[in-house]
Symmetry: C2
């Protein structure tokens, strides 16, 4: 299928590569194509510049948020940084979003107050709910936002059972996203549907402990598992 991946960071790259491997036609969206390609330094996590990375992956295309979102039908994946997601989707344009499924992986982490980052919105709202309210004809499904990018597309990196959460209002859209998660390697019994998009508040609020666990464990290769009987 035709998929738009919005965002050129670690998450966007991991998702774009995996979708391509699965045979999908991917266009990656960015705010300013020239600026993204002109970047010559590794990012703050040590990832190579996007242009270098893209050169090695000729099947991938970079375009504007709007062009990518226009291409992405039925699926758009929001891999932008959370504080920039609303403006990225505004640039993508309501007409390019209408009726489509949006997989929202972004977390609204605010680094402006220093470390550790805080969340904005939080507690009485979430980014996923903001997106759903702003674009009511978009079918927002929040998922994959509670783990490291590599793990999203290869759950076997962490042994044993662990959980990917799903939140969304549209049952059909959640079923489609469930198929995609299974294609990424997620076992059906580890895909946990929390309910409507309001439940994304809970998964976004996992980020503070995720970041502390990263520090305490000294690795990002871990995941939440909901342990239960039967």
């Amino acid at each position: 299928m035709k998929v738009a991946v919005l965002g050129t960071g670690m998450v966007g790259r991991a998702i774009a590569v995996k979708l391509t491997e699965l045979g999908h036609e991917v266009v990656i969206g960015t705010r300013d194509v020239g600026k993204t390609l002109a970047q010559k330094e590794p990012d703050r996590y040590g990832n190579p510049p996007f242009a270098t990375w893209l050169d090695e992956r000729p099947s991938l295309v970079l375009d504007t948020f709007a062009a990518a979102a226009g291409h992405g039908d039925p699926l758009i994946v929001n891999c932008t940084s959370g504080m920039a997601s609303m403006s990225a989707l505004e640039m993508a344009g309501e007409a390019n979003l209408r009726g489509k499924v949006l997989v929202d992986i972004a977390n609204p982490l605010d680094f402006s107050r220093g470390m550790p980052p805080t969340l904005d919105p939080v507690n009485t709202d979430s980014l996923a709910e903001q997106i759903q309210r702003t674009f009511p004809e978009l079918k927002v499904v929040k998922t994959l936002n509670t783990m490291n990018a590599r793990l999203m597309v290869d759950p076997s990196l962490v042994r044993g059972d662990h959980t990917v959460f799903v939140s969304g209002n549209d049952a059909g859209a959640k079923a489609e996203v469930g198929k995609l998660l299974r294609a990424f390697g997620w076992a059906p019994h580890n895909i946990l549907d929390l309910g409507d998009i309001g439940t994304a508040r809970g998964t976004e609020m996992l980020l503070p402990i995720w970041l502390r666990l990263w520090g305490a464990l000294g690795t990002a290769e871990f995941n939440f598992h909901i342990q239960r009987n039967g």
Copy 2:
């Protein structure tokens, strides 16, 4: 040892019973002894009135927050509801808290806006940090606040490995609390020290997803497990 359990709800009852079984001398603290004993109705969770419950457990004593905290040496356990914790500790009195270990199990759930409850404080602060700031000579250790009361004192209720988080500034206090958790049945490899008391922000912020999971799974018998390699 002599332990104070502040709070007469499900958590206080479960902790008090377990501590008694382990041979500790427990005094349960409440705001108003007469009022607590006069309550004739089950609480909103269907638990029997406290007086009925206490009558069946003659080794347990009920007293004021101050008297209980005076008895509790070296250990006080905060099992009050989170929105009432600061005033309960004020009533316990700084002199009765100084130099002691406080196990803080409370979550600052605010039901005043309706369901689902929100957290206050949240994101840029936590109840555990508030307590530690207000009583700097108290050794606050946040733990057990991310699960059902029955599971706190009997982790075998949920099969397999699952995690209890620990946050606190005082290494000695955390070591004491670790001993207590092991006595409650927690395997050492499932006790996860997140770091200083600031990390309690992360565990308190697990409550929104915990409440949604309770709804989605239809049972409170589940727990978070941090799945990782090696």
